[in-house]
């Protein structure tokens, strides 16, 4: 793979001439802007960038990005993207999916693209609802969600996208939400990660699941409810008054009070993005007793799938020529001259 050439662009360069058709006030607008703001900062080349999506509100995303784009079919974007990446590893791929597309109909493909570690950024817009089909409950909807298909409230236990990703073998798991000013930083970290980088983006569906993330996403009191993780930094929130420590008896995380800023005394953990066990705990922290863990939860790269494929192909081809005539005549053959046959 060639080192990507940095290209100078502005946010405007990434806008298409297509009218954006999400509902007014949809969180997708904010995510679109965050991505369009991030790409110039990365020096990304529009000609080398491909947005690939499945089906759903989120999956309209490629039409609004002035780059290459492929709006595929429901749930299958990870499989299409895998083929694109294997055919041309130099392309910079952004996958756009949602909670229904990525975890319901396409859960299988999402699992496999993560465990194979195909180099791409995977943005899963989680709005805990099926928006495009008018509001049915989704695999991430909370228990008791009333929707056209569950008028009395749902009773399935919701899937947790980040936990699913980590459990599938993802080497990068990040979290953000639509209107967060920190979202571009998470996207940049995902882009810097070589391999499948999974980002769960909480997204407000203004029509069918309005303000469902307000508990932690609303600006008021956000400090107390959001834990923004930074590698090498203590896990502090509430303006540094509280932190996350390890309950060594129960092997669980716990919230501790920090007195006079002495977080060491309170045994607050220092975030290590390569610590998979703590990443699991951060992802599983129940919101309410705990703040919502956001930012880069886990980042520990290992060799990518496409690199292995390319290396294997090169190794298997070593010293061999692509001689079709020879290939066709391989194995046990015989020649016929006239009517007599002689083995060769």
């Amino acid at each position: 793979m060639n080192a990507p050439v940095k290209i100078e662009t502005t946010l405007k360069d990434w806008e298409t001439d297509q009218e954006v058709r999400w509902c007014p006030g949809c969180g997708d607008y904010a995510i679109l802007k965050a991505v369009q703001r991030t790409l110039p900062q990365l020096g990304a080349d529009p000609a080398n960038t491909v947005f690939i999506s499945g089906i759903g509100c989120s999956s309209r995303f490629p039409y609004y990005m002035e780059s290459y784009g492929f709006h595929t079919i429901h749930g299958r974007a990870p499989a299409v993207a895998t083929g694109v990446k294997l055919a041309n590893p130099d392309l910079d791929i952004w996958l756009v999916t949602g909670d229904g597309d990525g975890l319901s109909i396409g859960g299988n493909h999402l699992m496999h693209v993560l465990r194979r570690n195909v180099n791409m950024q995977i943005m899963l817009f989680n709005n805990e609802i099926y928006g495009l089909t008018k509001g049915q409950y989704s695999p991430t909807s909370r228990e008791g969600t009333k929707s056209p298909s569950t008028p009395l409230g749902s009773y399935d236990h919701p899937a947790r996208p980040a936990a699913f990703a980590l459990g599938s073998g993802a080497r990068f798991v990040g979290r953000g939400f639509d209107v967060s000013k920190n979202l571009p930083d998470v996207l940049k970290a995902a882009h810097a990660h070589q391999g499948a980088a999974f980002i769960e983006i909480f997204q407000n569906c203004i029509v069918y699941n309005k303000d469902v993330f307000n508990d932690f996403a609303a600006p008021k009191g956000a400090e107390d409810r959001q834990l923004w993780l930074e590698n090498g930094e203590p896990m502090l929130f509430a303006g540094g008054a509280r932190g996350i420590a390890l309950d060594r008896d129960r092997l669980e995380l716990k919230v501790v009070d920090v007195v006079d800023g002495d977080w060491q005394a309170a045994e607050v953990l220092v975030h290590d993005v390569t610590n998979r066990s703590i990443a699991h705990m951060l992802i599983e922290m129940p919101f309410g007793p705990f703040p919502m863990a956001l930012g880069v939860l886990y980042d520990d790269p290992r060799p990518t799938f496409e690199t292995a494929v390319i290396e294997e192909r090169a190794k298997a081809s070593e010293g061999k020529t692509a001689d079709l005539a020879k290939l066709l005549g391989k194995g046990q053959t015989w020649t016929v001259s006239g009517t007599a046959a002689d083995p060769v």
């Binding site: 080398n48 066709l328 060769v344």
Partner: protein
């Protein structure tokens, strides 16, 4: 032994064709025996056709009726198109093999049986109440029964193997006898065994000893029994280099050739399924030809990844069998909608649902031609024989890249596994069809990703190309810009354009495979029925009947002249291994009264049953033409079960040293 005056080629001085069936337990190595006998036969210059037939179970319990594995070969000094109707020789390695296969044997045919396996226990397992070798029930056949097991143990004694290991060479002993019987040289087998067991010379020598002992036994036994040497002269073939080839190999090689002719790297997305997996296995060994293989998480991902690769500028290919094709269907629609090249190979098997994984059928024709949501036209090509699959695969690649469309190539379980001699073609004799990607805007200053060329194809634009940024998708798009467009007029025009593009594909005119281009009866076929139809029509013509054989390769779009050609015949008989699917297409497209002759027993047509159906048109018996062919007892053995998606553990894979059968259960019978 009672010998009736019977019409078997074994009685003849120099028969022009002989059918031999090797049958045994799936642990006996019959597929390997058959495969090696096939090579020897090919080397002797006979034309041949084979039919491996094995159970769906990976390791069926030993000695049981459903664990019987068989390999039939028809070879001769004349043109051979089928694996033969009824065997002249049946090699039965145990009672179950005899029981399952006896009904197929010609009256007066020769049974070679291993008495060492006809024990009380094995007879019970085969549900024999008494020993058929002793109770006179085989009176209408020639029987040569002797203790192959003991003879094998004796032959390999010098190599210090235990009885269990020694018995694994039984198939080599049997092969040695068969080589003697048909006067085949042993040297190629010696060489093959030495190469196969390069690191285990003792095992190689034990197998060689068994092979030689079987051969020597033939020479001795000739003096006393019904066994005698039979000479089948070489067939007159066009001069050139030959090899044997299975359909799965031919498809793989054809795809590689097609990608080279298109000057593209190939991406193959596959998922294990019987009987299509062999293509994945074969292609993954051809990386030096720019082939990337990807075993996906499921059938859907396999086709989607292939579509992704095509989008990125490679030749995307996927392969499966009916149930897997069903899963791929939505993605094939995406390929049709986004107008990207894609080759889909369907190795058909008995259906519906899991159906008959290891048995053959032609019942996915509706699926191929019609089986998608929306108006989703797609070209369909059907291979008629293993070697024909090579040319068909190239043709599929050509159409896919020239018309920017998915193309389906139909083969079936019979074609995939059967072997036949193949005159190795010169790749230089095929016309190249190099792909040109769009590199500049195609409408002045504008890019129009859906602007069509004279063929109706849109340009192929690789992501990564500067200045040609655009978006595509499965949603209806503007006829030029490719932007989302649901407007009524646009959808009408796009539907029309997709249809016109596929219908306008240049397909060669239909020829007549045998006979005149007008007459009383045309027997029309497609796919793997070619062999039996060709032979049956040939026989009918020799009897003076006015009948022709037409065999259609291009199922969709159909050749432009086909309608007129069919209308030149009084009657049309259409034999197919389904309930009449191509018949429906022909009736619909040409309003011709094609009469179906259908068979869905999981077994190929026999020449005799087609001959009979043809004869009825000339009998003046009213209302007696066509109809359904009853499942025929003279067919190859049908395994008794097949409860799940079975596999071919022992499909012969000729010509590729690294892929010689050696991992499957049946093949374990070579000592190693």
């Amino acid at each position: 032994m009672a010998t009736q005056a019977a019409d078997t080629p074994l009685e003849a001085e120099n028969p022009d064709a002989v059918v031999v069936r090797f049958a045994g337990d799936s642990g006996d190595g019959m597929q390997l025996t058959g495969g090696q006998f096939t090579l020897s036969t090919a080397l002797a210059g006979n034309d041949l056709a084979t039919f491996p037939d094995f159970p769906a179970e990976i390791r069926a319990p030993q000695g049981t009726l459903f664990g019987v594995s068989a390999f039939q070969i028809n070879f001769g000094s004349r043109q051979i198109n089928t694996a033969g109707d009824a065997p002249d020789v049946l090699v039965a390695m145990n009672p179950a093999a005899l029981k399952v296969n006896l009904a197929a044997l010609k009256p007066g045919g020769l049974i070679i049986a291993d008495t060492g396996e006809f024990t009380k226990r094995n007879l019970d397992k085969a549900k024999y109440e008494s020993n058929p070798l002793e109770d006179g029930s085989l009176a209408k056949y020639d029987v040569l029964a002797f203790d192959i097991s003991a003879l094998t143990i004796e032959a390999v004694k010098p190599f210090g193997l235990g009885n269990k290991d020694a018995l694994r060479s039984k198939n080599m002993w049997t092969l040695g006898l068969a080589l003697w019987m048909f006067d085949r040289p042993r040297e190629p087998l010696h060489e093959w065994l030495r190469a196969k067991f390069k690191t285990k010379p003792d095992i190689a020598n034990a197998n060689i000893a068994a092979l030689d002992a079987g051969h020597a036994y033939g020479e001795t036994a000739e003096l006393s029994g019904p066994l005698k040497q039979v000479h089948v002269a070489p067939v007159a073939s066009a001069p050139g280099l030959y090899r044997t080839i299975t359909g799965a190999e031919a498809v793989s090689l054809g795809l590689v050739a097609g990608a080279q002719l298109a000057e593209l790297p190939m991406f193959f997305g596959g998922y294990p399924i019987t009987p299509a997996s062999a293509i994945l296995h074969h292609l993954t060994r051809l990386k030096e030809f720019g082939v990337t293989t990807f075993q996906a998480e499921d059938e859907i991902a396999a086709v989607c990844a292939a579509i992704g690769a095509s989008y990125a500028g490679q030749l995307g290919v996927t392969s499966s069998s009916g149930p897997g094709i069903a899963l791929k269907t939505e993605a094939i629609g995406l390929g049709i909608m986004t107008e990207l090249p894609l080759v889909i190979v369907n190795s058909q098997r008995g259906g519906p649902s899991t159906g008959l994984p290891t048995k053959t059928e032609q019942s996915d024709l509706y699926q191929a031609v019609y089986g998608r949501n929306g108006d989703a036209p797609m070209p369909v090509i059907a291979a008629r024989s293993p070697s024909d699959a090579f040319d068909c695969a190239i043709e599929a690649c050509r159409i896919a890249v020239q018309y920017m469309t998915p193309v389906m190539l139909l083969t079936d379980g019979y074609i995939a596994n059967a072997a036949e001699p193949w005159k190795v073609p010169d790749p230089a004799s095929y016309e190249k069809f190099p792909v040109e990607f769009l590199t500049e805007r195609n409408d002045g200053d504008r890019l129009l990703p859906y602007k069509r060329d004279v063929k109706g194809a849109r340009p192929w634009i690789k992501p990564g190309t500067p200045g040609l940024l655009h978006r595509i998708g499965g949603i209806e798009k503007h006829e030029l810009t490719g932007n989302i467009d649901y407007s009524p007029d646009n959808h009408q025009r796009m539907t029309d354009a997709r249809k016109a593009k596929v219908e306008g594909i240049a397909v060669p005119d239909q020829d007549v495979a045998l006979g005149e281009s007008t007459g009383k009866l045309a027997v029309v076929g497609w796919g793997s029925t070619y062999g039996p139809i060709h032979q049956a029509v040939g026989r009918a013509r020799r009897k003076g009947l006015d009948v022709s054989h037409i065999h259609v390769r291009h199922i969709w779009p159909l050749p432009a002249n086909l309608g007129a050609l069919l209308k030149g015949f009084d009657k049309i008989l259409l034999p197919e291994m389904n309930t009449g699917q191509f018949k429906t297409v022909l009736r619909d497209q040409f309003l011709v009264d094609a009469e179906p002759l259908t068979k869905t027993s999981g077994q190929p047509f026999q020449i005799a049953e087609l001959e009979e159906a043809i004869d009825k048109y000339f009998d003046d018996i009213p209302g007696n033409e066509g109809g359904e062919v009853p499942a025929n007892e003279q067919q190859l053995p049908v395994s008794e079960s097949g409860h799940d998606d079975g596999s071919y553990p022992d499909a012969p894979f000729h010509g590729d040293d690294a892929a010689l059968p050696g991992e499957g259960s049946d093949t374990g019978a070579v000592n190693q």
